[in-house]
Structure formats: structure tokens, C-alpha cells
Symmetry: C2
Subunit: 330 residues, 2 copies
């Protein structure tokens, strides 16, 4: 059982479909503290390693879905999307997995309340919200594990956006991925703050998906990445359990830098840093040397996300005028 349709069929086999007219659901964006970087199965979005993230509600996606008679209709932030757009095509291909008869079409209305300038990806919250809405619409009553597996089929990291808080995506070992889903950690961390510094909102020349694949295929240093992740997962879970912020920040930062290091050592080299990224990183390192408990993480892009505690928020807002502060456990 190795393709998406077979996984979906297996999950929905025993479900009685009792569709409503319309359903609506929300899912938060998430930011990885230990990154998802490299796939063992590109079709099913199965990762080489586990990863760990924190969700950033109320930032995320609200999706309303209904069954309609004719062709699919896709709305994004109140605007109808042409069928030829990448957004529509990806969404419609995903919906294809759930159609049961020919005249079975969806109207999908997606609202992202993530400021474009925040440099936060919306595909995770988008697929998570869509899966939750589909579940409601059809009355399947899937478990959070099943929802997480379905969301992963849309976008890998979407499996970490089904529940809110710290979520571990356990890599799993099964070829069908039935053991590869997000698990909510019990801990909350109300004092934790995330500061988004947007350096560029231009579309990336190389997508995360491509970068991940080039890296895994060509970087010799990537061979050590699974060992990096094993260590970082242990440290992060310990840091979260003990609310040890130095360990938390250090581990998240070194994990992100190691991910960028694997890209830098791939061929052709993939390097998302812009000159401003370097300047801000140097500034963070200098402030930390001077005693400020400030760390950062980055995804596959040039933007920086600061990690700090509530007690240092004022100092950080004065050091970084453009920072947008997020409270993950609001």
C-alpha cells in the first residue's frame, strides 16, 4: 500500500459518510524547532527523521467547504482562483483523493490570516484545516492521528498543525506511513515568545521541496543529519519538560543552522541567506554574548524567527524595530 489513494481508502473504508451541507474548520501555522528535512517517501511525504514544532494560533487558516454540483470552485482570501494556478491545482489534486462519484464537486473557501509579510508558510495550516473541514463535512469522525496522516498527504508539515501546542511528528518506519503522524506534547509554555523578522517576501528561486531533495541527494554532510536530529529531539523534549529556555533556544538554533549547513554543502549550493540575514544573525549572536537570552530559528528561506521569553520582550522590541511578536500559548 504505497500511494495516496490507497492510504485514503484504507482510512475511510469503515466510515459511514453522512455529509452535511457545509463545514468550517481552523488550523494553526506551525514553526519547526527541530526541522523536517529530507523524505524517505516523496509520494506519501514520509520523512527521514522525526521533527518537532510549535503552533502559532491564532495565525492560521480558516477553511469552509461545501459540496456543489458542477466543477470545483476554489477561493483564496475571498478571491476565486483559476484552475491553472499552482494553488488550485495542488488543492484539486488533493480533493481528487476524496471524491466518490463523478458529480461530486467541492467549493473550498480558504482564508489565511497570516500576514503575507510574516514569512510563515501557509501550506501546513491550509492542508490541516482542509482535512478537518472534509472530516466534518462528510461526518467521518476521524481521530486526530488519522487527520494528521491525511494532512501529511497534502503537505508533510501539515501533520503538525492538527492540534495546538508543541507537536512531535514521529517519523515512523512503516512503508505505508500509518505510524508517521503528529503527537501533541502535554506541555504548554505561556512565557514563550516568537519574533518574526521579515527580510524578504519575494518568491524563492528554489522551493523548500526542491532544496530538501537536492540536499538529500547531494550533500555528504546530510549523512550526519539523522544523528543531529536524534540529539536535538532529546534536548528539545527535555528543555520543554523542564522549561529550560537556554537549552530550548540553543537546540532550536543549532538545528536550524545545521539544516542550512546541509543546504550550503549541497550541489548546486542552496543558500537562502541574504546579506540582511547575515547582519541580523551577527547581531543576535552579539546580543547573546552580552547576556541576552535570545536565539533564532529559520526555515528554508531568508527570514529569521527570534525565540525569547516574555520578560525580555521589551528589550527585544527596542533592538529589532520591525519584529512582529507572536505568543504561541496565548
Amino acid at each position: 500500500m504505497r500511494n495516496k489513494q490507497e492510504i485514503v481508502n484504507a482510512l475511510l473504508a469503515a466510515r459511514s459518510a453522512s455529509p452535511s451541507k457545509q463545514a468550517c474548520s481552523f488550523a494553526p501555522v506551525n514553526i519547526a524547532l527541530c526541522k523536517y528535512w529530507g523524505k524517505r517517501d516523496a509520494e506519501l511525504n514520509l520523512p527521514n527523521t522525526s521533527s518537532l514544532s510549535v503552533t502559532l494560533a491564532p495565525l492560521g487558516t480558516n477553511t469552509t467547504i461545501s459540496l456543489i454540483d458542477q466543477a470545483d470552485v476554489v477561493l483564496l482570501n475571498c478571491r476565486e482562483q483559476q484552475a491553472s494556478t499552482p494553488f488550485s491545482r495542488k488543492l484539486v489534486a488533493f480533493l481528487d483523493l476524496f471524491r466518490t462519484k463523478e458529480n461530486f464537486y467541492y467549493l473550498v473557501d480558504t482564508e489565511n490570516n497570516i500576514p503575507t509579510a510574516a514569512g510563515l508558510a501557509s501550506s501546513a495550516s491550509g492542508f490541516a484545516a482542509l482535512v478537518k473541514a472534509l472530516d466534518q463535512l462528510h461526518g467521518w469522525n476521524l481521530s486526530t492521528i488519522e487527520l494528521s496522516i491525511l494532512a501529511r498527504l497534502g503537505s508533510g508539515s501539515a501533520c503538525r498543525s492538527i492540534e495546538e501546542g508543541f507537536v512531535e511528528w514521529q517519523a515512523g518506519t512503516r512503508p505505508d506511513g500509518m505510524d508517521s503522524y503528529g503527537i501533541l506534547l502535554p506541555e504548554r509554555w505561556p512565557d514563550l515568545r516568537l519574533g518574526v523578522l521579515t527580510i524578504s517576501t519575494q518568491e524563492k528561486a528554489i522551493s523548500s521541496r526542491q532544496a530538501m531533495s537536492i540536499t538529500a541527494a547531494t550533500s555528504t554532510l546530510y549523512e550526519s543529519w539523522p544523528r543531529q536530529v536524534s540529539k536535538d529531539m532529546v534536548s528539545l523534549k527535555k528543555a520543554i519538560a523542564e522549561q529550560n529556555f537556554d537549552l530550548f533556544g540553543e537546540t532550536a538554533e543549532r538545528n536550524a543552522l545545521a539544516m542550512h549547513a546541509t543546504m550550503l554543502s549541497s550541489w548546486p549550493p542552496v543558500f537562502y541567506w541574504l546579506s540582511q540575514t547575515v547582519e541580523i544573525a551577527q547581531k543576535i549572536w552579539k546580543l547573546r554574548e552580552e547576556g541576552l537570552p535570545l536565539f533564532f530559528t529559520m526555515d528554508a528561506g531568508p527570514n529569521i524567527k527570534l525565540l525569547f521569553l516574555q520578560k525580555n520582550q521589551q528589550e527585544i522590541e527596542s533592538q529589532f524595530k520591525d519584529v512582529k511578536v507572536i505568543t504561541p500559548f496565548n
Copy 2:
């Protein structure tokens, strides 16, 4: 046999000392195409892996040495150096290895003809020239292998500056390092050009020696570095033998980037890149995408050294106004 003095004694044991009054020698700087990064023995400067460089004569060090009666005198570029300077202290500590009676002092006159702004290290050429001058002064008649071993005791990469051309420093496996020295490759490459782009001449906050040691101690990705080097050494030797410039440039660039990647993934992170480094790297990648056969290498610092062929020199000089072009095989 594990300290410098014992190695020196062993090498000089059978030598009849027939000193001249004065000796003078030259050694070139070298730039690594496959980097020396990480030591298996810090006292003897024994590397974890082999490395490969090209010398850049006539850039290098001219050293004149004589025996004098009182205390050591150290001149650098015609200026007497205080005994307390790092330069003097390192030099005098090295000379200590060669003194045979109490009133045995040296006058060392070192001239570096490397423009300070070239961002090329002078310690390799400095120790290589010093060892060759000492050999002449004392009439030891050491072999190039023995000279290379002695130079390594001063500064690791100095063992690659005894002879001119492509030099492989074979890592060796012996604890005493007697099999760890530079070997001249037979090939020359007259069309090869190196372009120095100096971004900063400021002293580095973290020395190469420190960076190497932090990386080897803390970077998980560094565990893959020996495998990176094994591959790159094979590719570079093949590229040099076949004068295959694309393979040559690609291998040198990916090796340098992988070295910087190991630093980026260490803790605390060591990152020598400045914003201008990023801008120039992006420009090189863009020009290459457009078809220009241009690659680069970097040492443990922010400066960039372009690699290209004579036929593209004009284009490169017009793209990089400040480039200083070097012809390694003049």
C-alpha cells in the same frame, strides 16, 4: 615520540651541523582546494584528513637568518618586533626546538610580499621559508619530506609550502606524524587563475585554529567531513590530471562550502561570512548559471578567492572591479 622536540631531535640526529654565517630562503603562500579542517594531534599539527593546495609564487615569504651572540632578534617587513608580540613569541618558541647550546641565538628577518589586503595567510609561507633557511644555515641537507614535516610543526598548512605547484598533504596515520607531509603533484596548469576578492582585512574574532577546534568538538555534521574529503581528494586529483576545469572548480567550491557548513553547525556557531560575502557568492552563482565557468573557494574568513581560466580573465575583471588576479603557474 609525541612532542615537537622529540620529532626535531629524531630528524636532526644524524645530521652534521656545518653552519654558514647566514642563509636566505623563499617559500610561497598556498591556498587549499581541499581544506585542512580538524586535527588528530594538536601538538604536532596532525590532521584528521588529507588536503590539497596550490602555491601562489611569487607571493610568499623571504626569510634571512643568521646566528648571533645575544638574544634573538626578529624583524618583520624591516621592523623589529617586540618579544611580547604574538608573532615573535610563536617564532621564538619554534626556534627553541633547534637551539643546541645556551648562547645560540638567531636573527630572523622575514619579508612577506603578500599585500595585506590580499587576505592570504602568511603563516604557511613563513614557517616553510624559516625551515628552509634553517636547513641552509645549519647545513643539514634535509629532504623535502623532512622539511615539510618540520614546517608542519610550526603551522599545519606550512607543510604544503615547501615545494611549488599542486601539493597534497597526506594525513598519515602514525602517531609521530612521520608519514604526514606534503607531496608535490607532477601536474602544472598554466591557464589556471585565482582572483582574490578582499572583503575585510580586520582581524578575525575567532582564529582559524579556534574555529577548527570548536567545529571538530561540537558539530555533528563534522562527523561526515572525512567522507567529504575522501570524495573531494579523488575528484580534485582526477580534475588536475585531466585539466577538467568544471570538475576542479566544482570540487574546490563544494569543499570550501562544506567546511563553512561544518562551522555554521557548530556551537557556538562560527560564521565568517559578512553581508558582502553573501552578495558576491550570489553573484558568482548567477554568473555561473548564465554560463561563465567561475567557481570560488574561501578559507576560515570572509574573503573570496575566485577560480577561473585565463580565457575568462577579461570577463571576470570586468565583473569584479577589485579583483587581484594571481597566476599560480607563472
